[in-house]
Subunit: 167 residues, 2 copies
Amino acid sequence: MAFEDRENNHLAQQPFGQVPFLSDGELEIFESGACLLHLARKNSHLIPSDPVGDAQTVQWIIAALNSIEMVTVPWWFLEISGVEDNGLTEWLANRLDKIEKVLKDREWLAANRFTAADLLMADVLRVPKVRAFGDRPATERYVARVTNRPAFKKAYDDQLAHFAPAD
Amino acid sequence: MAFEDRENNHLAQQPFGQVPFLSDGELEIFESGACLLHLARKNSHLIPSDPVGDAQTVQWIIAALNSIEMVTVPWWFLEISGVEDNGLTEWLANRLDKIEKVLKDREWLAANRFTAADLLMADVLRVPKVRAFGDRPATERYVARVTNRPAFKKAYDDQLAHFAPAD
């Protein structure tokens, strides 16, 4: 399905015309971050059930959305728009340096284990243009660590299979 | 306290050097969105306790952070950097039009009542440069509705009072 059509179909339920959109019983949720939080809370595989682990996971989910993606996505958007001098580059470098520093000291972001926060952060950081920007070995290892998990590979393959008939 | 010093003091606990930082018992949380979620969940004044109302509130909190602020903040940053042609203006107009459309039909974002999502969305939309961009009467009324609440005015005055001695 063309992106334009997809936007029109979703607009009634999703005011910004984005996917994903989640329908679960009487719940209808847009915003990928909110969908992730809802699905992850259904069991403790992706969010620890203790209050500290839960809060740490939510904190890093919000950090991925609001401290990293808030810079990477507009920077990426300006890059592909072909602007001569991307005014967000210094901000991007600063944020990516900070997350590199965090990832030097730990394997996972929250609660010393893999959580939904890693799923989201790795998804934000694995964007090819972002990944190619600067030299950040700890981030590179982290992205590989998350995306090489069998569950990630399966989800990715399933997603591609889902969209294949529409192309 | 100068912003530079403040960043250094917080960096141990807050990797991106931002405020706020929340300490609550054994919990330590950075990211304003995560702090808001944590504080709001302590009772049902700011997040409804039923699953649908809760999910709607979380969804609109994430929308404020990841669909609106993701565009308004970088756009604002480029504006104050004095770029000649702000490459994010079209995207900003699009997102603000979408939220205007939402706010034409309802008084509050989630669960037909004031929630933490309104607190955050109004805080994102009340930035003077954003507020001055375009003609969006429903958004304007919404921002006024939230910021004129006695609790908002008190919090704002308290915050200014807190920073006053440092200036």
